[in-house]
């Protein structure tokens, strides 16, 4: 079985070394005169050309009701569906028989930000957020407890584009 080697003949007439060089130099010089496209990030977080998408799935938020309590009814669907197993939920029940989360923790390091928790939540309580500045000084600060999840204020993800829900 012979290996087929295609021998290319070198181009003769259409070869251009110097003209191509000069053309390239003209091009690079043209780029000097053009405005730069860099976004000055810490000062400037979005431009007309670029904003964080509303479908961005970042660190979570727990929405609250009018009394400031978490909307969560501790149904257990989100820890059930979570593929990364990063949600810890211990349900509790008050005197009227309303379930609420005793412990609700999300380990943001384990989270894969799939957004299933938001999709599955019947009370629209847990949401993934449009947020990306998550730096902390220690690893254990990345386990978000209920208080932290409810107190965060960033926008929540729409998960899909409302104008184009089927992604067409």
């Amino acid at each position: 079985m012979a290996i087929g080697v295609k021998v290319m003949t070198r181009p003769g007439k259409e070869v251009s070394y110097l003209r191509a060089t000069l053309k390239g130099m003209a091009l690079t010089f043209k780029h000097i005169t053009q405005p730069s496209v860099t976004m000055q990030y810490p000062e400037q977080k979005s431009t007309n050309e670029w904003t964080v998408a509303s479908r961005w799935r970042g660190t979570h938020r727990m929405l609250t009701d009018e009394q400031g309590r978490a909307k969560c009814v501790a149904c257990g669907l989100c820890p059930q569906i979570c593929p990364a197993n990063c949600i810890k939920l211990v349900p509790g029940e008050d005197e009227q028989g309303n379930r609420y989360p005793l412990i609700y923790e999300i380990d943001e390091f384990r989270c894969v930000f799939c957004g299933y928790c938001q999709e599955v939540c019947p009370e629209e309580a847990i949401h993934v957020g449009v947020h990306y500045e998550n730096a902390e000084y220690s690893r254990d600060r990345f386990v978000y407890d209920l208080e932290r999840l409810t107190s965060q204020t960033h926008a929540v993800s729409t998960l899909w584009d409302p104008a184009d829900p089927k992604g067409q």
Binding site: M1, R10, V15, Y17, L18, M25, H31, Q34, S36, T38
Partner: protein
């Protein structure tokens, strides 16, 4: 020691300090300029966080390099490994001391200082550390020394990448030194001197040598790129092939010294181009700058900086425009194109100069230069056409063009 000798000594030391400091600052700024120019060419901004407009970035980089850990490979040849950065660094800095960077400054003083006694200096002070009679021969000689540092760095690192980088560097520099040296012989033919001040004076009387000796300039510029191993000739440190080439094993200040050496070499090549082919510190189309005076010295210094600055920008411009050569193409360009071209050009220029001297024994330098410039237009067009079509480069060697069908391989 006479007061005049003391004055000469004192002024020389001052000039050395000034030139050394200025060169180091320029090198530092060049690292910033390189990043800025590359950023602009890619529609970016470049470093702008440290200091106003990023001006303190070189200082931050330098500080970082001082604080980084120095590593020596376990199997490296330690003495040579330690010596190599210095061997690259020192020649690079020595080069700049012969190039005149301004019109001679008229100095006239006669003072008596404690400890030093009477110090005097009368007359024009050449604005170069030393106006050596051997001029650009010194530059050629010392710049060849730089390859020792690179080759030894590659060898002593005991690393395959570094070794290949050093090997490539030595082969490349030796090849292009030939073309570089030959390309400067027409300059010698025109000016009759290798001393920089005389070369500048010739260009003041006639035209800048780039016009009568355009092809020399062309060859010198390309060889200069190769000598400083800048893109498109940066085979010794080809990142995509050799990690970092000869300085792959170096860290901290030792790496920095190679870096400084590279930029100092770039500066020197650009100063050489400006001096040899563009009239040096001479302000074109005026003779005001030749009268001598403090103002003239300052103005000519500024002009020299502008000329050098343009060529430094040009070097960066090329770097961010062209991709790297293939190694055999690099060698082919050096040996099969630039060297024969430089040799042929010497013959042409020598014959033409002899013809001009015979035909017009008392023609003005401007006239002779103009005739040569016309000749260069014709020659340049021919060479450029041939080079552009690739006909002057000859057939590519190597595996690109097998002469017969490749042997069949059984699997």
């Amino acid at each position: 020691m006479t007061p005049e000798q003391k004055g000469f000594l004192l002024l020389s030391v001052v000039k050395m300090l000034v030139v050394f400091t200025a060169l180091m600052v320029v090198v530092a700024l060049l690292t910033l300029a390189e990043r800025k120019v590359s950023a602009w060419m890619q529609n970016r901004i470049g470093p702008n966080r440290t200091g106003p407009g990023g001006l303190l970035q070189p200082a931050a980089d330098g500080l970082k390099n001082f604080l980084k850990e120095e590593t020596t490979p376990a199997l490296a040849t330690t003495p040579i490994f330690l010596l190599a950065p210095a061997l690259a660094f020192i020649p690079a800095l020595m080069l700049s001391c012969v190039i005149p960077f301004a019109a001679p400054l008229p100095v006239d003083f006669d003072v008596t200082w404690p400890l030093l006694g009477q110090i005097a200096y009368h007359g024009a002070l050449p604005m170069a550390v030393t106006d050596l009679p051997i001029g650009f021969l010194f530059v050629l000689a010392i710049s060849s020394m730089g390859v020792y540092g690179i080759a030894l760095a590659g060898w002593s690192s005991n690393s395959k990448y570094a070794l290949l980088g050093g090997l490539r560097a030595s082969a490349q520099m030796i090849s292009y030194e030939v073309a570089m040296g030959l390309s400067l012989i027409p300059v010698l033919l025109m000016t009759g001197n290798v001393r920089f001040s005389e070369i500048v004076r010739t260009q003041q009387d006639g035209l800048p040598l780039v016009l009568p000796l355009f092809l020399s300039f062309f060859v010198y510029l390309i060889s200069g790129f190769a000598e400083t191993s800048r893109l498109p000739f940066d085979m010794p440190e080809a990142e995509s092939e050799l990690v970092a080439g000869y300085h792959a094993e170096y860290s901290s200040m030792k790496f920095s010294m190679f870096f400084i050496a590279e930029y100092a070499n770039v500066t020197t090549i650009c100063m050489m181009v400006a001096t040899l082919f563009f009239g040096g510190w001479d302000i074109p189309f005026t003779s005001w700058d030749e009268q001598g005076g403090v103002l003239q010295t300052l103005a000519t210094f500024l002009v020299f900086v502008l000329k050098t600055g343009f060529w430094v920008f040009f070097v960066m411009w090329i770097r961010w425009t062209l991709p790297r050569f293939r190694y055999d193409q690099l060698m082919a360009l050096g040996w099969k194109f630039l060297m024969p071209l430089a040799l042929a050009y010497i013959v042409v220029i020598a014959v033409t100069l002899w013809g001009l001297d015979t035909a017009l024994p008392d023609g003005s330098p401007v006239l002779k230069s103009s005739v040569l410039a016309l000749l260069n237009v014709v020659l340049g067009a021919v060479v450029f056409f041939g080079l552009d079509r690739g006909t002057l480069l000859g057939r590519p060697s190597g595996p690109g063009r097998p002469t017969s069908r490749p042997a069949t391989v059984r699997s």
